[in-house]
């Protein structure tokens, strides 16, 4: 297809605003999928994605549409990951497009997730096509949604299309607007092939399938191409597109979207954002490539130490389709062998843990998550620390920088007070407050990433009875007074509980964990001191009093068997305990505390 008849677009929407329903309608209306083949919600593949309302992988679909002007157009819908944890992936998928549909629920209005994604799309200079969906709902409020478009996103409200994806209203208009308002792709004018890699996935038969958007030149089987950032040169085996199932094509031309396969075995050989170039006559790569770096780290341990190998296998399988996921072996005195894993963000971390549990049936426990700190040393060097265990000696530390995010919180008016105190409790500073409509406001705040890791989202949900929403985007690093908090039993540090925390939080956290540990550590034959320490200074202390006796008061002939079995059990139990110094602690106790802290 010539570039003038191609449109590449993605859809930005808050969860449940109707992205999937609308995509399905577009597939139907263009005849890409026959009505009777139409399984509801074709595009969302993974259960977990469905449940959480987010898409981790980009799914491109190619549709052919005969417009009112009588001409046929190739419309490529690139379904982008819906969460800023995957901001880089999102930015790459968006940069494969010239435009984006922005869906807003007519009854709900603009939500936080939408704001962050629209900002990304605007940075990419995409043509944004607002669609106010669900106008069939009795409490639909189109003027409100239009007003919010203007106020919050600076998009003229009257440019919005009105639709009901469910009822099939306005679908034609959307398709026409895509043709009319989204620009056609233009060749870059470079001397040869340039194709952007915006995602990849693993297929057992084909190896790595690379998703691409051709910006210049064309892709055909048999071509030798190279990928400058990964340094690989391969011969293309197959090219194709999706409808939504993959189908083979002769070639992919300028402006087109699809896939290629080559002899690529592991997804890590392909980097999202890299450019595919002609190997003999390479043009310059497209701009915007970044190595992706995990933002959040946490140790994942099998609850049953024998499951370490299966855990590693499961993780390597996950990594096949999730190249942003990193892991390496680590070990903890309390938890045995496990993996230190790096994630793009909180949601990514939760998804990986959830998939390990669900798809691989692994019984796992995760340690307190940590962000990546930049530690500036007195000698002028800088170290990145994602594991409190590796924090250099404080005497050599000049200062510690922590990652900060810009968070968007949208909440009902009557929870503003609660939100503001929550944000300040989380060491955040509010930068902007905007009225969304008669009942809601949007707060923008800078908050240390570390503070939103644990319960920020849950707290918002509970303070606003479920009406609040939150999203965030990275916003650089700030100097911060971070300290290492260690938990000790009888003077021995329990590594599983060590964490870098802000000085203002350390004491409370130390106290809370100490109190919890006191509940779960069984009494021993001597007193056990549980202490929280910041760099050697004790900030909290609890005592598990000594067991003063351990003897069956009465034991005669008839009891011996029963008693022996009890003692044997006690003995077995002790074997499963982790010795921290001289104190025996059941692994369950660690798990109990990690679960709740």
């Amino acid at each position: 297809m010539d570039a003038a008849h191609i449109r590449n677009f993605s859809i930005i929407a808050h969860i449940d605003h109707g992205k999937t329903t609308l995509s399905d309608r577009l597939l139907q209306r263009t005849g890409t999928v026959a009505d009777r083949e139409m399984e509801d919600q074709m595009l969302d593949a993974m259960d977990l994605e469905r449940e959480r309302g987010i898409t981790i992988k980009a799914h491109p679909v190619t549709m052919l549409y005969r417009a009112k002007n009588g001409e046929e157009y190739e419309l490529n819908l690139i379904d982008t990951p819906g969460h800023v944890d995957f901001a880089y992936e999102v930015s790459r998928s968006l940069s494969a497009c010239e435009g984006a549909l922005l869906i807003i629920d007519a009854a709900q209005g603009v939500e936080a997730q939408t704001v962050a994604n629209v900002h990304l799309a605007m940075k990419q200079e995409l043509q944004i096509l607002p669609v106010i969906n669900k106008i069939d709902l009795p409490h639909a409020n189109v003027p409100m949604a239009q007003q919010q478009l203007e106020d919050v996103l600076a998009i003229p409200g009257d440019t919005a299309l009105l639709a009901s994806a469910k009822e099939g209203i306005g679908i034609e208009e959307i398709l026409e607007a895509i043709v009319a308002r989204i620009p056609a792709p233009k060749p870059t004018g470079a001397k040869s092939l340039q194709a952007l890699i915006f995602d990849s996935y693993f297929n057992t038969y084909k190896g790595v399938v690379v998703l691409v958007r051709v910006f210049n030149g064309e892709l055909r089987p048999g071509m030798m191409v190279k990928m400058p950032h990964s340094g690989k040169t391969v011969e293309i085996k197959e090219v194709g597109s999706f409808n939504p199932k993959p189908y083979i094509r002769e070639k992919l031309e300028v402006g087109e979207t699809g896939y290629i396969t080559a002899n690529i075995k592991t997804p890590r050989e392909v980097k999202v954002g890299d450019t595919i170039l002609d190997s003999k006559n390479p043009a310059t790569p497209l701009p915007g490539f970044q190595e992706i770096h995990p933002m959040v780290f946490s140790g994942i341990y099998p609850i049953n130490p024998g499951d370490y190998e299966p855990l590693k296998v499961a993780m390597s399988k996950l990594q096949l389709n999730d190249s942003a996921l990193t892991y390496q072996t680590e070990s903890s005195a309390a938890l045995g062998f496990g993996l230190r894993c790096g994630f793009l963000g909180l949601l990514h971390m939760e998804i990986v843990q959830e998939r390990l549990r669900r798809e691989f049936e692994m019984d796992i426990i995760a340690t307190y998550p940590s962000v990546v700190y930049r530690v500036q040393m007195t000698d002028g060097t800088e170290k990145e620390v994602d594991n409190p265990a590796f924090l250099p000696d404080v005497t050599y530390i000049e200062q510690i920088l922590e990652p900060v995010v810009k968070a968007f919180v949208i909440c009902p008016n009557d929870s503003i007070g609660d939100m503001m105190s929550l944000i300040s409790e989380k060491r955040g500073s509010i930068q902007n407050t905007e009225t969304m409509d008669a009942r809601r406001v949007m707060l923008s705040a800078r908050i240390p990433l570390n503070e939103i890791l644990i319960d920020f989202h849950d707290r918002i949900k509970s303070l606003t009875k479920g009406y609040g929403s939150m999203d965030y985007e990275p916003d650089g690093y700030d100097p911060s007074d971070m300290v290492k908090l260690d938990m000790m039993v009888n003077g021995e540090v329990m590594d599983a509980f060590s964490a870098l925390v802000h000085r203002s939080k350390a004491e409370n956290r130390g106290r809370a964990i100490a109190a919890k540990l006191k509940e779960v550590i069984p009494r021993q034959q001597y007193q056990v001191a549980i202490q929280a320490a910041i760099g050697g200074k004790i900030v909290a202390r609890e005592t598990v009093s000594a067991l003063r006796k351990d003897v069956t008061a009465k034991c005669y002939g008839g009891d011996i068997s029963r008693k022996r079995k009890l003692l044997e059990k006690q003995r077995e139990g002790k074997k499963r305990m982790k010795a921290v110094g001289s104190v025996d602690i059941p692994q369950e106790a660690f798990i109990e505390v990690l679960k709740t802290s």
Partner: protein, 431 residues
């Protein structure tokens, strides 16, 4: 370990063929010198009690007595008891007539006389005639379940007797000619104060018994007392329980009692030393119970009774009807049997022997089990010694006064469970 699963009721007609059970049946072999007989009846169930016993109904005691005679007949050829112990339940609940039937059978089966023959009595169920009958038949030791000498605590525990009955029964027993009397006492009873406990000890001492068994309340599952504890009706005061124990040990020592086991204290008299002279065991110690802690073979008859014969520990059904029915058909009513591997058996013996203040003589342990504590348990002994829980002598290893308070933790290190990694290899255990 070979454990025979409980034999189901339906299988009652089928003679068990399992080798372990076969071994548990009495076959020719060395004579067994200890005999325990369980009498599963009580006038009223005490709040704390988890023994197998219940108030009798109909003619069940009558049928029990005949079944017991039957069971005695089945083991008689292997039994030449030096110690006999009638426990329960409340053996003194049997009528004179019923006792005569039992005693007659024991005589006929040449199970008498025994050097030590104990019968447990409840102070509420003794008469001078019954006492005389038992004494004349050869019973020479009475163990009285007293528990407390405080009326309100007796009520609290659901005991059927009063304080007065204790004193009356005690004198009655002396009058009947018993020279070896034990009293069971309990401490850390909910509501008991250190003072009432002191008073009970003093009063018990002034009676002048030869032996005292004093144990802390045990909260056994399925007892009313346990349910009350779980329901939060009272709290356990561990510190108080410990003080009571300390008071007990000191007080009894000052009054000429020697502790020889966690819960057992006896007088020592060189002239009257009747049974044996063991350097660390007082002369009035209960020989029968010592046999358990020393790992001697013993028959156990009556419902729920356990026995240890030919390396097999087995247990009768805790079901009086079933037990009677089986014996009426001419066979013993075994619920289960287990035979431990030699090392496990030795470990068990080591563990439970440590409950005795005498501990173990290395040579005696070696002779009894074929294993040497100095080899297979040396690390465990060292660990206990380093905690001041135990002392090692030339030919002796025993717990200290502190160590006795942790006899379970100490004993657990000596176990050698089958199938565990430590079986057969050099064990390393932590305390």
């Amino acid at each position: 370990m070979i454990t025979v699963a409980p034999i189901s009721f339906a299988a009652a007609d089928i003679q068990p063929t399992t080798s372990v059970l076969a071994a548990a049946k009495t076959l020719p072999g060395p004579l067994v010198e200890s005999l325990y007989i369980h009498v599963p009846f009580c006038a009223h169930k005490c709040e704390y009690c988890a023994f197998y016993s219940a108030p009798p109904s109909g003619d069940v005691i009558h049928r029990y007595v005949h079944a017991l005679v039957k069971e005695l007949e089945l083991v008689a050829s292997r039994a030449r008891p030096k110690t006999i112990f009638f426990g329960g339940g409340t053996p003194s609940l049997l009528t004179l007539k019923q006792w005569e039937t039992v005693l007659e059978a024991m005589h006929r089966l040449q199970l008498l006389p025994a050097a030590e023959w104990t019968v447990e009595c409840n102070p509420a169920t003794l008469s001078i005639d019954k006492a005389r009958l038992l004494r004349s038949a050869g019973v020479n030791r009475i163990s009285m379940g007293v528990q407390s000498l405080d009326e309100s605590l007796l009520d609290r525990l659901g005991r059927v007797h009063s304080r007065e009955m204790v004193f009356r029964s005690y004198h009655l027993l002396r009058d009947a000619g018993f020279r070896n009397i034990n009293i069971d006492l309990m401490f850390a009873i909910p509501g008991q104060t250190l003072d009432t406990w002191r008073k009970t000890i003093d009063e018990a001492l002034s009676l002048g018994t030869e032996h005292l068994s004093c144990y802390e309340v045990i909260y056994e599952e399925d007892t009313p007392l346990y349910e009350q504890l779980k329901a939060g009706e009272f709290d356990v005061d561990e510190a108080l329980a410990c003080s009571m124990y300390e008071v007990l040990v000191d007080c009894l020592a000052e009054n000429g009692f020697q502790q020889y086991e966690v819960a057992n204290f006896a007088r020592h008299s060189t002239s009257e030393a009747e049974v044996c002279q063991h350097p660390f065991i007082p002369s009035w110690a209960c020989q029968h119970n010592l046999g358990y802690w020393r790992g001697l073979d013993s028959f156990g008859l009556g419902p729920s009774a356990s026995e240890y014969v030919d390396g097999v520990r087995s247990k009768n059904w805790s079901n009086t009807d079933l037990w009677i029915t089986q014996l009426e058909r001419g066979r013993r009513a075994k619920e289960s049997a287990e035979a431990l591997a030699p090392l496990s058996r030795a470990g068990e013996l080591a563990a439970f022997g440590l409950r005795m203040n005498a501990g173990w003589s290395f040579t005696e342990f070696l002779a009894r089990t074929g294993f040497d504590l100095r080899h297979d348990w040396s690390e465990d002994m060292e660990a206990l010694i380093s905690r001041n829980w135990a002392v090692r002598g030339e030919d002796r290893f025993h717990l200290t006064r502190d160590g006795i308070r942790f006899a379970d933790a100490a004993g657990a290190c000596f176990l050698r469970p089958e199938g565990s990694a430590s079986q057969g290899s050099k064990p390393k255990s932590r305390i």
